[in-house]
């Protein structure tokens, strides 16, 4: 030993174990520890412990958390919504905005289409001789039913 070899401090040893030293400083701590059997033993035990701890618990972070955690989080998020008249008014406006206009429009269109089709079929059944859209619709439905195996040819 040319100059006074300093012992690695606890901060040095921890920082070494946690990879928080730059390469030069890490080498320095290594050589200090190599010259100090107690420090070396301690450092080796800490490194082993660090790896054992990670091996035991890091897999937990790769698991998908149980469903109840995200359900609980959602419920908590709702419960945590702001209170007070202004916030309630805002929430009410948001509720109105969430009203499902799209769904209402779609069901209205579907209802209208069904009525037109029904009327056409009724017209055809009432007067089968007269060519109409209803005749085509009934023929299409018959073919479809036959294709699905519901009706005899």
């Amino acid at each position: 030993m040319t100059d006074v070899q300093r012992r690695p401090s606890e901060l040095d040893l921890n920082a070494y174990v946690d990879g928080r030293l730059d390469a030069d400083r890490a080498r320095q701590v290594e050589s200090e520890a190599a010259a100090d059997p107690a420090a070396l033993e301690r450092l080796q035990g800490w490194l082993r412990g660090r790896d054992q701890l990670r091996q035991a618990y890091d897999p937990v972070a790769l698991e998908t958390p149980p469903l109840f955690l995200s359900v609980a989080a959602r419920t908590a998020a709702r419960a945590a919504e702001p209170v007070g008249p202004a916030a309630r008014a805002r929430a009410a406006r948001a509720e109105v905005r969430r009203f499902p206009y799209g769904v209402v429009a779609a069901s209205f269109l579907a209802g209208a289409a069904a009525t037109v089709l029904g009327a056409a079929i009724f017209a055809h059944l009432a007067d089968p001789a007269r060519p109409s859209i209803g005749a085509g619709v009934v023929r299409a439905l018959t073919l479809l039913a036959r294709g699905l195996g519901f009706a005899a040819p």
Partner: protein, 164 residues
């Protein structure tokens, strides 16, 4: 405020810390309950100030929730008290038993730095310690953990610490 995306992103790492902080019997159930309580607290409190990382802030909330649960008498989040009597052949079980045997304050330091990979300043802030106190607890935890997992007495490590 915490968004659902954040929760889904950060919950796995939070769970790892929670399970480790609750090391002992029923660590999984107690840890998950602790995560649930942490998320509840986080969602009800003000978002962290500018410049604070969300994961670091959540871990601080987790520590507070764990301490509150430990201080509460009766059933709730069970905090470990058991010492590892039988030694398991499974290294993960040995690590869990050793962690369970640490003093709660030492375990907190080891979990935040060793598992959550928090910086020393972040971990000290989350635990309400000075940097010097954090390093002292971390060192004690590492001595104890190494002694327990290697099967030697913790005493020899404590002796090494005095020699410093």
């Amino acid at each position: 405020m915490l968004a659902r995306d954040d929760i889904e992103r950060l919950a796995p790492a939070l769970r790892r810390c929670a399970h480790a902080l609750c090391a002992g019997p029923d660590a999984v159930a107690a840890g998950d309950e602790l995560v649930r309580e942490t998320l509840r607290r986080a969602l009800q409190s003000r978002a962290p100030t500018e410049g604070v990382r969300l994961d670091v802030w959540l871990i601080a909330v987790l520590v507070d929730a764990a301490r509150a649960a430990a201080a509460r008498p009766g059933p709730g989040v069970a905090m470990p008290t058991a010492a590892p009597e039988q030694r398991s052949d499974n290294p993960a079980e040995r690590a869990q038993a050793a962690l369970a045997a640490l003093a709660p304050a030492d375990r907190e330091a080891l979990v935040l730095v060793g598992l959550a990979r928090l910086g020393y300043a972040e971990a000290a802030a989350a635990l309400g310690l000075s940097s010097t106190q954090l390093i002292a607890r971390l060192s004690a935890a590492r001595d104890q953990f190494a002694a327990l997992t290697s099967g030697r007495r913790a005493r020899s490590a404590a002796h090494l610490r005095v020699v410093k």
